[in-house]
Assembly symmetry: C2
Homo-oligomer: 248 residues x 2
């Protein structure tokens, strides 16, 4: 399984991903699911991947090959990130179809989901989620985040905290809390955790990037502190009026 | 959608359920998903239901009819709650099979999941989750809760707070918080919220029962307080060392 998320903030775009893949309990591996493309100083593009690893690797390697061979459409000559999202959708559907018709079918699932975000000079930052069917959606002002993979455990904290105008450090901390809740509830989401920030109109390089190992001091401090605060907050809640329902 | 959960505590069994059903956005209704059976003073049995409403209603009405007609096996002569769980599994599979072969099949899903818990005189309290396949599982000391329906949003708080030895009022408050997080993230889970407690060896009637409407004062206070505590706790977390990752 996988958990990746991205935010569209006033200040720029933030991305966070785990690195665990599994194809059954004895096939657990570590793969980065965050792919950065910054071939020229006029653009930053980040792709997050979830789903069948064969499909996502095929899509990413095609994007890289197109770039290397300067294909008619590639990541360094695209004018809009939405065109990149369209192209990823096409590649993804093509790959899924190819493998859907080979091999023993029972239980096989070649589907994949992507998040692509970035900024190309002359345009605003853009962020899209690409479904297995190849179509894509973006964020809204009220709902500035996109998630793929194991999305539910980590959603409530995003719903409560993150808005378009949230300051980027706060929003990125919220992404780590969201990721931590997910790791706690689902053993197939795991470190290293990658966290990246693309500041609006800073196109030479990401403003922030870090990979957090499981024993990272900050991650451990955050986890411990959050657990304490949840427990404390919970114990300070108004007590249930037990008498009001006593005697069933 | 639905969210129901039950806990097996040292003090007894706790149950909580929402009341919203939907078959598409314009077919939203309110149905209780908590079914109480206490035909004699020697037993208390509670059933929570999720999934296809046709299937769950068919199963519940068969149980009621068997009871009324004093069938060879019914809820008032069962010796173990696990026998009731087996019987619910059989009825559920039979009903699902019946409807799986009729009508237009595309998108139709007759599956249902149940939680059954209770105590029959002479035995300890028992709690089971019955899968659509008819088999069932119970809790463990480390994992004293069972959930059906939309289970993920509300799981992290249970993971953090609830243990076998948790005091019952605390555990029931945690169930309401878990339910509230779920309602916040999924519009198809909704009030009234029913909350019930069966105290160990109190077989005449449930020790506690309440149905909370959406505007219930306690539920509103709990929701407001929890939201404040989460926000406050979040803002008190150790800040991300932005400098450590600056310059990507």
């Amino acid at each position: 399984m996988t958990y990746c998320l991205a935010l569209k903030l006033d200040e720029g775009l933030a991305f966070c991903s785990d690195s665990r893949t599994n194809a059954g309990p004895d096939r657990v591996s570590t793969y980065s699911k965050m792919h950065r493309f910054s071939s020229r100083d006029d653009r930053q593009i980040v792709i997050l991947t979830a789903g069948n690893l064969g499909t996502t690797q095929a899509v990413i390697s095609t994007l890289e090959r197109d770039l290397k061979h300067d294909a008619a459409f590639n990541l360094s000559n695209a004018v809009y990130v939405s065109d990149v999202a369209d192209y990823i959708g096409e590649l993804s559907v093509k790959t899924q179809r190819k493998y859907a018709s080979t091999g023993p079918e029972a239980g096989f699932n070649a589907t994949a989901t992507f998040i692509v975000g970035g900024q190309i000079k002359g345009n605003d930052p853009e962020l899209y989620l690409i479904y297995p069917e190849g179509n894509h959606i973006t964020t809204s002002d009220k709902h500035p985040f996109l998630q793929i993979g194991e999305i539910k455990y980590g959603k409530p904290i995003l719903d409560r905290i993150v808005r378009r105008h949230t300051e980027n450090e706060t929003a990125m901390r919220c992404m780590l809390v969201s990721m931590d809740s997910t790791m706690r509830s689902n053993a197939t989401v795991g470190p290293p955790i990658e966290l990246l920030f693309l500041k609006r109109d800073e196109l030479k390089q990401p403003a922030y990037y870090r990979s957090f190992e499981d024993n990272d001091e900050y991650l451990l401090a955050l986890r411990k502190s959050w657990d304490e605060k949840i427990r404390q907050g919970f114990s300070d809640l108004p007590p249930l009026d037990y008498a009001a329902g006593a005697g069933g």
